[in-house]
Structures are given as structure tokens and as C-alpha cells.
């Protein structure tokens, strides 16, 4: 019951946060230089045409009216239309969100599957093979840029071994195997960087907990080492790990731009970046709002997980 009240309270907080975010995005977009009409007309613009297009887009109105009109539409479920193609922004997002979410989930899944066990092993035997491996993965993952790694993986797995496609994707409902094959390399590219962070965090969190008195007590009590690690140490070490996973998940939802670009995946990050370059206001505003909303939801889920992992937190006792 207390947990439900906690979740409801956090959900209520969503409204002012989203409102603030929308104002910020709206203002920031209009503060940066660059004219959407100029981009739409390109080199073929004339002063007269620029004025007409600005009027058509409502850009000649005072900024507060522009915001009011946009917010009114958003509250009615209308996120606007792409300035260039006239396509509904909801349609654009509905195609891209599943791509980004799948990419993020797969990358996180791969990273967790490798980094968490490796981090634990590294903490159990500092200086051992797993510890050295985790160090190597940490260095490798953090220092290698995504775009380079992505292209190297394409050259190796696509060109040399012909195991995975070099670009593009198939939708999940069309063919799950083709879908997973097409997502493997992009997800792996992202997962390497994520694993680097996650393995280091896991190792240090587990190490820290293992030095606490209660662990010594459990061991002295004769509890098997496996139970000590997986039932007690890991549970206590999980808060920083969950925090990092939550943050990375939120970050990836809007930010896997480079990987999306290299592998030509139609994701949200790529959409927002190209729309920002074109000053395609409705797309950027809606895209950012959706990403912000999801980021907040992921944070909420992370907080709820904290509560489940440590009851003191949901009671406000932490």
C-alpha cells in the first residue's frame, strides 16, 4: 500500500516536470539561430517565399502564442506535423520508438549479461583472470568510440564473415530471426560501452559490500560462499548497479544517435538530431517530450526498484 502511494506521488510529479521540460525545449529551440523556413526552401528561397512559409508555419506569431497553440494541441493528443513532409509526428514517433526501445533493451541485456557476472567474479578474486578481463573490458569499452567500433564490427562480421547484415533492419513482427540478426551488431556496439561502465560499478559495489561486518558474520556463521554472494552481497550492492542501469537506459532512449546513424536504423535519436538540424520544431518538441517522459518513467521504475531492494527507502527512512 505504501509502495502504491509512493508510485502515485511520483506519477503526480510527472505533470510539472513535463510542463517545465516542454517550456524549456520550446524556448531553447527558438533561442538558437536558424530559420526553419530557410531550411525548407533551401537554396531556392526568396524573401517573399520565406515570409509566406513562416506565416504558414505560424512562426510569425509571438512566442507565447506559439507555445499556447502547441500546448493546446498536445493536450488534445495532436503532436503536430513534420514541417517538411507534412506527416503526423505521432506516426513518425510510432515507427521509431519500437526501434530505439528494442535497441536499448538488447544492448542493456547484453551488457548486463556480461558485465554483472564479470564484475562479481572480479570482486570475488581481485587480481584474478576475471578482474583483469574486467579491467580490459573497462578500458576498451570506454576508450573506443561507437562509430569506429560499429564500422569495425561491420567489416568483420558483415564483410569478412558474412554473419550479420551491415545495415537496416526488419520489424519484429515481420520476422523475429531477421530482426534479431539485424539488431545484433548495433546492440553489441552499444553494449561494449555500457559494459565498461557496468563492470567497474559492479566490481566496486560488490567489493565494498564484501568488506562489511555482516558479510564476515555470515561467513563465520558457515553460510556457503555462493549464498553469501548472491543472496546477501549482491542484494546490498545492487543499488548503485540499478542506478547505473536506469541512467543508461534513459540515456539510450534518446541518445543512441551515432549507432543508429552508422547502421541506418530509423530510431528516435536519429530523428531528433536530423529534425534539430532542420529546425523542424514540431518533431523536435514532440520527440524530446516523449524521450523526457520515458526517461522520467525509467527513473520512476528505478526508484521503485530501490524500494523493493531496500524497504527503508520507500518509507523515507534512507
Amino acid at each position: 500500500m505504501r509502495l502504491l502511494r509512493y508510485i502515485a506521488g511520483r506519477l503526480l510529479l510527472l505533470l510539472p516536470v513535463l510542463f517545465g521540460t516542454s517550456v524549456l525545449i520550446f524556448l531553447l529551440l527558438r533561442l538558437i539561430p536558424g530559420d526553419p523556413a530557410a531550411v525548407i526552401l533551401g537554396l531556392r528561397a526568396t524573401p517573399e517565399r520565406l515570409a509566406i512559409v513562416r506565416e504558414e508555419l505560424g512562426l510569425d506569431l509571438p512566442i507565447h502564442l506559439q507555445y499556447g497553440q502547441w500546448l493546446g494541441k498536445v493536450l488534445r493528443g495532436d503532436l503536430g506535423k513534420d514541417f517538411r513532409s507534412n506527416e503526423a509526428v505521432t506516426d513518425l514517433l510510432s515507427v521509431r520508438l519500437p526501434v530505439t526501445i528494442e535497441l536499448t533493451v538488447l544492448a542493456l541485456g547484453m551488457a548486463i549479461a556480461v558485465a554483472v557476472p564479470l564484475g562479481i567474479r572480479a570482486a570475488i578474486k581481485p587480481g584474478g583472470l576475471a578482474d583483469r578481463g574486467s579491467m580490459l573490458l573497462g578500458l576498451f569499452g570506454i576508450s573506443i568510440p561507437d562509430f569506429w567500433l560499429g564500422i569495425m564490427l561491420i567489416l568483420f562480421f558483415s564483410l569478412a564473415l558474412r554473419m550479420f547484415p551491415s545495415s537496416g533492419y526488419a520489424r519484429l513482427h515481420e520476422d523475429i530471426l531477421v530482426n534479431l540478426r539485424s539488431f545484433f551488431l548495433p546492440a553489441l556496439t552499444l553494449a561494449v560501452g555500457l559494459s565498461a561502465v557496468l563492470v567497474r560499478v559492479t566490481r566496486s559495489a560488490v567489493l565494498e559490500v564484501m568488506e562489511r561486518d555482516f558479510v564476515k558474520f555470515l561467513r563465520a556463521k558457515g553460510l556457503r560462499e555462493r549464498l553469501v554472494i548472491y543472496q546477501h552481497v549482491l542484494r546490498n550492492a545492487s543499488i548503485p548497479i540499478v542506478t547505473v542501469i536506469g541512467l543508461q537506459f534513459g540515456y539510450l532512449l534518446g541518445g543512441a544517435v551515432i549507432v543508429e546513424e552508422v547502421f541506418s536504423l530509423p530510431g528516435v535519436g536519429r530523428l531528433i538530431v536530423s529534425a534539430t538540424l532542420e529546425r523542424n520544431y514540431p518533431v523536435v518538441q514532440a520527440g524530446m517530450l516523449v524521450v523526457a517522459f520515458m526517461f522520467i518513467l525509467v527513473n520512476l521504475a528505478t526508484d521503485v526498484l530501490y524500494g523493493l531492494l531496500n524497504p527503508k527507502i520507500r518509507g523515507g527512512g534512507a
Binding site: 537554396l43 513532409s85 515507427v95 558483415s158 545495415s167
Partner: protein, 535 residues
């Protein structure tokens, strides 16, 4: 003349008079064993290449990867080259231009000039739009009425400013009325006039759902992913297209695109990494198709304010510029230096260069001193990082122009900001490319340099002589006189230098070895109706 030569000569005559098709011509020449003879008589015609490709075969799906993604399928807007690459396969034009700028029949099977301002065209009677509407002269009239509608504000109208109207004579005959002696009508029709259907335009959003009479009809567009086109069975050329389906994808990374071609995921790609082009030409796994230099790269110069308001400064820039270095270091040899919008391989090439013998640093210094910049000057070069060659050109300019006294500051603007710099005339010098070599005087020099042109982004209005030469060029019908007028325009343009042409990029389309018929055209359209796959 031997019998064989006479026969070949006869075939060439028939072909050039459009009495036989290219395919019939090739078959006839091959039959009489006159390939070498024909080649010697028609050096401009890539006969050997055409014959080496064999007979077209029907069927198959071609997956093509362009660099940029399309944004708008309405041909009145010609928004981004990447959009045109796709929709030009969905729509048909009245006439088409071949690799040598020859005007070939399209929807119009024949035409004649009635007087100095009237042209009469006959349409084919078997063309259907993809919504099953019959294509008639009324559609042609609607296309131009729509193009000139002030409500639409179509950017492409700028190419047809001397066109005064279209008169329908009957279902398959219409007349185009122009200002007297407009010499650029056919080239403009071949480059920019896709015929649309009123019902289709009014029933759907043409930006998203294009309906034309072209060889392929639109099936679906998954944004940022692919566009699917399929063969239009009622295409007015019964034997074409050869492909069942074309899928366009946009892959921005050169290496990823090339890998896709090498692994067989893609059949056709737009460009390979420039530094690998020569090596790949010798590679049997991929095929470089007949290429062409139809993409002039240039500097736009802001002539409205110091320092480039003085012609001496612009001329000093011309004298200090080393085009060969740009072609070799930035373009890895995949571009030809040229001081005009076209390169020597183009029929329009004038060969004029008032800066012949450059770079000449002493002359550049003297001109700067004459302009009052004895101690040199600092100039700002605005580049767009999303066009990878532009920042490189900027770096090269820093070194090339320094001995003459130019201190170049390279600025970097993403596209929205760059356009703003351009339109507000805040820039000093910037780089851009153009794609108008089907008629470089009409489609490139006139819009960019005439004082009354809305596209005169250089704000150059100091040369009544150049204006007059451009007008003379535009309103000259005789081809030879037109070429002479073009040569004069080029010379005057070089003297005043509101833009400075650097190089002409060699555009090559790369395919798998079993893909035939792909070639680079002056209009830069990807004419997929000519492409076939050898299974």
C-alpha cells in the same frame, strides 16, 4: 563508302532522327558487324559499353542506397537531391536528356517550334498515371498552372520564368508559349518538369504519396528506412522498366554503403569512400558504371560588403587558388579542376579561363594592394560539417591563400545556421555544390549571378554587362550562337567572380557486376527504367 559503312551511317541517321530506338540501333549495328565503324563515327556515344552489357533482362528487385534520405515526393518542390533521385522514377517528363545532353522523347513523342515563342508538342497516347487516369494534354496544362500558382509557391517555377502558358489543342497536343526566342525550354523540360495529375494531387498529399506516369509506382515509404517502388505495368514504353521492384535506402556512411554492396545486401550504391574509388575500379567484385562530371563545386562570395565587395579581392582569390590541390587532396582525384560550371568532358565547356596560368601569388598580392589591403586581410569561410569536403576545402584554403595575404578563418555551421548566414548575407565566403549542368547557363549562372534573380545569394549587382550577356544567352535559339553566348557569359562571370568554381565532382554509381544500364546523367536523375539485373 563501303556497304557496311553505308549501312551503319544509315542506322546512325535513323537513330539521331529518333526513327529507331537505342535498342534497335544497337541490334542493327551489331548485326552488320559495324560496332567499330559506328564507334568511330559517334565518339560521344558509349557504344562499346552499351554493347558489352548485352540485352536487357526483365525481373528482379534492385536495392539501391543513396547517401541522404528523401524528404518530399512532390516534384514541384524539388526538395533535396535525395528526394529527386526517388521521385524521378515515379514521374515522367515530356522530354529526357541523354548523357550528351541530347533531347530525347519522353511523354512527348515529338515537338516542333511553330514561331519564336510557340512550341507544339504531341503526347504519347498510351500513358497512364498510377491511379489509372489517362495522361492527356490537360495534365500538362495543370502541371504548369500548378507550378506557377502563387498559393503553391513552388521553387521549381524559377526554371520556367520565360514560360508564359500552356494551351491545349486536343487530348494529345498542346502548345507551350514562351517569351520570344527562349533557348532553354527543352533542357528545362528535361530537367525539372515532371507531369502530375490533378485528381491525384487533390486526393492525396503529394509530398507523401506521389502518383505519376513513370516506370515505377510508389508502394510504401518507411521513413528513415526505405522507399519501395514497383514496376508500373501500364508504363507507356512497353518494354520497360526491366526491374520488378526498386527499393531505395539511405545510408550516410560510405564504408557501410560499400560493405552492403560487397556483401550483396545492396545492388546499387551512390558513392564509395573517395580514397578507395581508384582501387575499386580495378576490383571485379564491384562495378563502376559510366560516370560523369555534372556536379560543380564552388565558392559563393558575398559581394554586398567588405572585403569581397571589391572585385579586386575576388580576382585576387581567383589568382591565389590552386584547383588541382583541391581536386587531389580533398576529392582524391575524383574531381576535375574547372574555372567554370562544367568540366572539359561536357559539351557546354567553354575553355575560357581569364586566370590562365594561375596560381599567381604576385598578381593576387598586387590586386589586394589595389583594393587597399596591402597588409593582407582576414576572411571568414563558412563551411558545413555535414558536407565532409567543405571543412577540408577550408583547411586547404588557409594554406593556399596565406602567401597572397588572405588569413582564412574557417567557421562551421550546421545546415539551418548556414542557410541563415546565406540569406541574411552575414557570410563572407562559403562553399556549395550545384546540379545544373544540363544547361549550365540557364540553370546555374543565370540564377546565381543575374542581378534580378532571387537566387543571387552573392548579392552581386555590379555588372550590367554580365546581366546583358546572360539575357542574350537565354533568349538565343540557334545552338551555335547559344554556345558562343555561353562562352561570353563564362568569361564575364570569371572577370567579376561573384562565385568561384573550384572543381567538378565525378559522380559514379557503383553496382554489383550483374547490374547493367546504370549511368550518370547530366540531370543527375537515377533512371532506373534502363537498369536490369543479369540473374
Amino acid at each position: 563508302m563501303s556497304l557496311q559503312k553505308e549501312q551503319v551511317h544509315d542506322f546512325i541517321k535513323k537513330y539521331s532522327e529518333e526513327r529507331i530506338s537505342r535498342r534497335q540501333f544497337l541490334q542493327a549495328v551489331t548485326t552488320v558487324g559495324g560496332v567499330a565503324v559506328a564507334q568511330s563515327m559517334m565518339p560521344g556515344f558509349r557504344l562499346a559499353t552499351a554493347l558489352a552489357q548485352g540485352s536487357p533482362k526483365s525481373g528482379g528487385t534492385l536495392v539501391a542506397a543513396t547517401i541522404d534520405k528523401p524528404v518530399n515526393m512532390d516534384p514541384a518542390f524539388a526538395e533535396l537531391y535525395s528526394s529527386m533521385q526517388v521521385y524521378q522514377n515515379i514521374f515522367s517528363k515530356l522530354v529526357n536528356l541523354d548523357r550528351d545532353n541530347n533531347v530525347m522523347p519522353g511523354l512527348a513523342k515529338s515537338w516542333q517550334q511553330i514561331d519564336d515563342s510557340t512550341w507544339e508538342f504531341s503526347l504519347v497516347d498510351n500513358a497512364y498515371f498510377h491511379n489509372d487516369e489517362h495522361c492527356t494534354a490537360n495534365d500538362v496544362k495543370y502541371t504548369f498552372d500548378r507550378l506557377f500558382s502563387p498559393d503553391l509557391g513552388a521553387p521549381n517555377a524559377v526554371f520556367f520564368t520565360p514560360l508564359e502558358g500552356v494551351e491545349v489543342v486536343d487530348d494529345y497536343t498542346f502548345r507551350i508559349i514562351t517569351q520570344p526566342n527562349w533557348g532553354g525550354l527543352l533542357e528545362a523540360l528535361g530537367a525539372f518538369a515532371e507531369v502530375v495529375n490533378q485528381k491525384a494531387i487533390e486526393e492525396n498529399d503529394p509530398k507523401l504519396l506521389p502518383i505519376g506516369t513513370g516506370p515505377f509506382k510508389f508502394v510504401q515509404w518507411v521513413k528513415d528506412d526505405f522507399i519501395e517502388l514497383e514496376r508500373w505495368d501500364k508504363y507507356f514504353k512497353p518494354s520497360q522498366p526491366y526491374l520488378d521492384k526498386v527499393i531505395f535506402r539511405a545510408i550516410s556512411d560510405d564504408t557501410v554503403r560499400l560493405t552492403g554492396l560487397q556483401t550483396g545486401e545492396l545492388n546499387w550504391i551512390e558513392q564509395v569512400p573517395l580514397h578507395r574509388a581508384d582501387e575499386l575500379r580495378a576490383n571485379a567484385d564491384v562495378k563502376a558504371n559510366p560516370d560523369g562530371e555534372f556536379f560543380p563545386d564552388m565558392f559563393l562570395i558575398n559581394c554586398s560588403k567588405p572585403p569581397f565587395d571589391k572585385v579586386e579581392v575576388r580576382q585576387a582569390l581567383q589568382w591565389a587558388l590552386h584547383r588541382e590541390s583541391i581536386a587531389n587532396l580533398v576529392w582524391f582525384g575524383q574531381a576535375t579542376p574547372s574555372a567554370e560550371p562544367v568540366s572539359p568532358s561536357n559539351p557546354w565547356y567553354s575553355g575560357a579561363n581569364v586566370y590562365e596560368g594561375g596560381p599567381d601569388i604576385d598578381r593576387a598580392k598586387a590586386l589586394l594592394a589595389q583594393a587597399g589591403y596591402e597588409d593582407g586581410l582576414t576572411i571568414r569561410y563558412a563551411s558545413q560539417p555535414q558536407v565532409p569536403t567543405q571543412p577540408l576545402v577550408g583547411q586547404l584554403l588557409e594554406q593556399q591563400l596565406a602567401p597572397a595575404g588572405f588569413r582564412v578563418e574557417v567557421e562551421s555551421f550546421e545546415s539551418a545556421r548556414w542557410f541563415e548566414e546565406l540569406f541574411t548575407l552575414n557570410y563572407e565566403i562559403t562553399g556549395t555544390y550545384w546540379s545544373a549542368t544540363a544547361d549550365p547557363g540557364e540553370h546555374c549562372l543565370y540564377p546565381l549571378s543575374h542581378s534580378a534573380s532571387p537566387w543571387n545569394f552573392s548579392a552581386f549587382r555590379d555588372s550590367p554587362e554580365l546581366d546583358q550577356a546572360l539575357e542574350e544567352f537565354r533568349f538565343t535559339l540557334d545552338p551555335e550562337a547559344r554556345q558562343n553566348a555561353f562562352n561570353n557569359v563564362v568569361r564575364l562571370h570569371q572577370e567579376s567572380s561573384p562565385q568561384v568554381f573550384q572543381v567538378n565532382f565525378k559522380r559514379t554509381y557503383w553496382t554489383q557486376p550483374n547490374v547493367h544500364g546504370a549511368q550518370t546523367l547530366p540531370t543527375l536523375e537515377l533512371r532506373m527504367e534502363d537498369v536490369w539485373i543479369d540473374a
